[in-house]
């Protein structure tokens, strides 16, 4: 276990954390404000990646492609909201889970029809490609640093919007007590649409940013979706701050766990063969164990919005 590997994997963990935050932020807001479980958030991420791949190829420029992808992702999110989601706000969580599950099935297959089942390749933009030495002797891809930076900037912007603007106040109020906000005369349907659309755009953005480094393929959002739910459960539903902390923790634990599980087990005294068999299994379970532990001590997460 070298320091270089540790440093690189920590940065990778941050990168995953930032991507998770972008997805989890929309998820936690939608759940917090509308009490709506949106399993389809993962495919919105996937759609962002596919749209970015397509538009970048069409325009030859990553940033134009990104903008177009965001616009279409937003539009698609709004269409989904009007067609399906809006009819489910009053319903049981079970029905919400089912409906969004259906959307996952639909879209995971749908992208195969449009773009084929083989993974797509998105080239890193010229300006931000290659690696840079962050510290003496440790090289790290520039694009990944870009993802981390973009994520942190958005986190800051979100914080400012939620804590210091009127819309943010409405969102916070809605996350604490939506019926009351409606009773106070706020157009709750418009608020829901804004929250939903915004969340879809965040997820799409994450997908587009991740496209150059991760594999753009059907089902790419599924695993991240589950991780995102673990994030908001740990962080506390309805809380951006919780999503941020939770995402970084999950990103780091998952990445570092996968890289070092075998080594850690060996340090704990296990033989190399055993460590190599059990290690990966424990690594993939580590965040669930973390989630179970958090829920045990804090059944509503670390920073729940609703008291």
């Amino acid at each position: 276990m070298s320091t270089t590997l540790l440093a690189v994997q920590t940065l990778n963990g941050l990168q995953l954390g930032v991507l998770l935050f972008l997805i989890a932020a929309g998820l936690t807001l939608v759940f917090g404000v509308m009490d709506f479980i949106n399993l389809a958030h993962g495919v919105q991420y996937m759609l962002g990646a596919y749209l970015a791949a397509m538009f970048v190829a069409m325009t030859g420029n990553f940033f134009f492609g990104l903008l177009l992808a965001l616009a279409v992702a937003l539009a698609f999110g709004l269409v989904l909201e009007v067609l399906v989601m809006r009819h489910l706000y009053d319903r049981d969580h079970l029905e919400q889970v089912l409906a969004t599950f259906g959307i996952i099935l639909f879209l995971n297959e749908g992208v195969k029809i449009v773009w084929g089942a083989a993974p797509l390749h998105v080239p890193t933009p010229e300006l931000l490609s290659g690696s840079v030495a962050i510290v003496e002797g440790i090289l790290y891809p520039v694009w990944r640093l870009a993802i981390i930076t973009a994520g942190l900037v958005i986190a800051l912007v979100l914080y400012i919007v939620v804590a210091h603007t009127r819309v943010g106040m409405l969102i916070r109020a809605g996350a604490t007590n939506a019926p009351m906000v409606s009773a106070l005369g706020v157009d709750i349907r418009r608020l829901f649409m804004i929250v939903f659309g915004f969340g879809a755009m965040l997820a799409g953005f994450a997908g587009a940013m991740a496209a150059p480094v991760l594999s753009v393929e059907p089902g790419m959002g599924d695993n991240l979706l589950i991780l995102a739910f673990v994030v908001i459960v740990i962080g506390g539903i309805g809380s951006i701050r919780g999503a941020f902390v939770g995402a970084l923790v999950v990103g780091l634990v998952d990445t570092l766990g996968r890289s070092f599980s075998v080594d850690l087990l060996r340090m704990a005294g296990l033989g190399p063969g055993d460590a190599r068999t059990i290690g990966p299994a424990i690594a993939s379970m580590s965040i669930y164990i973390l989630m179970a532990a958090v829920l045990y001590f804090r059944p509503t997460g670390l920073f729940p919005a609703k008291g």
Binding site: H87, L94, E95, V97, L98, G102, I103, I226, S284
Partner: protein, 322 residues
């Protein structure tokens, strides 16, 4: 005041009238091998529907009667299947040993995960059951000794007293059928028992049930364990039918599919899950033969079920009859 005469219990309608739908379904199922003699394809397909019907019944106990949305129930199917597969890998093929083993494995997993999950409510419960399902999935994937992600192939079905009775498709069909019928009546009895009454009461008004002196946690845990055990039985049967078991049997997509079956058929009716399983299995089979990308249609179907299913197919049928 005068001694009022005791009214008959509210399950008043004559027992055979309440059961006409499931009995009709069972009669139809029993006749399948007679109407399609020697047709392996049909026998396999219907047997698969019945096996998933057993799993759906198990889920209905917690979902329909306990109001617990478990998004990790496919894990029990996988555990039952892997119990049979792993036992067979080690030369243990005697059904009277491996089937109870599979059931016990499911029950144990349910006991441990249930004890933790049931401390949570609402969406947290959904997420934590999903997480446990994923844990089971990843564990199976990491079992390189037993096939890992590619799965475990079994060379033959479970034996009983040293003989492979189940290798015969018709025998297998009727064994599955018998187990389906038995599961239905067992669960029906349990739902109407004191235990079932408390479970249903806790679903309707948990606060009131606590104030009456019931601790819902214990009842829900028992229901969850029972559900896991029955689901594992279904897994054991599934592994036997395909002579194969893989982590994919435990994916969260399969858990979702199971929920669709229960909701489509009619939650909390016991008959519903059986119908739902049959419909989903048949629809999947039919669609997949017509179009490579059938999941697109299936996805839309699931969305429609969620939006419009209400009481499910059973409710629709009962309404038609007036």
């Amino acid at each position: 005041m005068a001694d009022a005469a005791l009214p008959k219990p509210l399950a008043a309608p004559a027992i055979w009238r309440r059961l006409w739908l499931p009995l009709a379904i069972f009669a139809a199922l029993a006749l399948v091998p007679l109407f399609f003699p020697g047709d392996r394809y049909v026998l396999t397909l219907v047997a698969r529907a019945m096996i998933l019907g057993i799993a759906a019944l198990a889920l209905d106990l917690v979902l329909g009667y306990g109001a617990l949305v478990s998004f990790g129930h496919a894990a029990f199917i996988g555990i039952g299947g892997y119990a049979i597969g792993i036992a067979m890998e080690h030369g243990l093929v005697e059904g009277f040993v491996t089937i109870p083993l599979a059931i016990a494995a499911g029950a144990l997993f349910a006991l441990v995960t249930g004890a933790i999950s049931l401390k949570t409510r609402g969406v947290y419960f959904i997420m934590i059951t999903l997480a446990f399902g994923q844990m089971a999935f990843f564990t199976a994937q990491s079992l390189a000794r037993y096939g890992g992600d590619d799965g475990l192939r079994m060379y033959g079905r479970t034996e009983f007293f040293g003989y492979r009775w189940l290798q015969n498709e018709v025998v297998f069909f009727y064994v599955v059928f018998a187990l389906l019928v038995a599961t239905f009546f067992l669960l029906r009895t349990i739902v109407n028992s004191r235990f079932g009454r408390v479970l249903r009461g806790a679903k309707e008004n948990e606060r009131r049930m606590r104030a009456l002196g019931f601790d819902p946690f214990r009842y829900r845990l028992a229901a969850y364990v029972l559900s896991g055990a029955v689901c594992a039985l279904a897994g054991a049967l599934l592994a036997n039918q395909t002579q194969f078991v893989a982590p994919a049997y435990m994916s969260w997509q399969r858990s979702g599919e199971l929920i669709v079956m229960v909701v489509l058929g009619g939650m909390g009716t016991l008959t519903g899950p059986i119908l739902g399983a049959a419909v989903i299995v048949l629809v999947e089979e039919a669609l997949s033969r017509v179009w490579q990308h059938w999941k697109v249609i299936f996805g839309i179907l699931v969305v429609l079920v969620a939006l419009f299913a209400k009481g499910g197919i059973v409710h629709l049928i009962e309404r038609r009859r007036g």
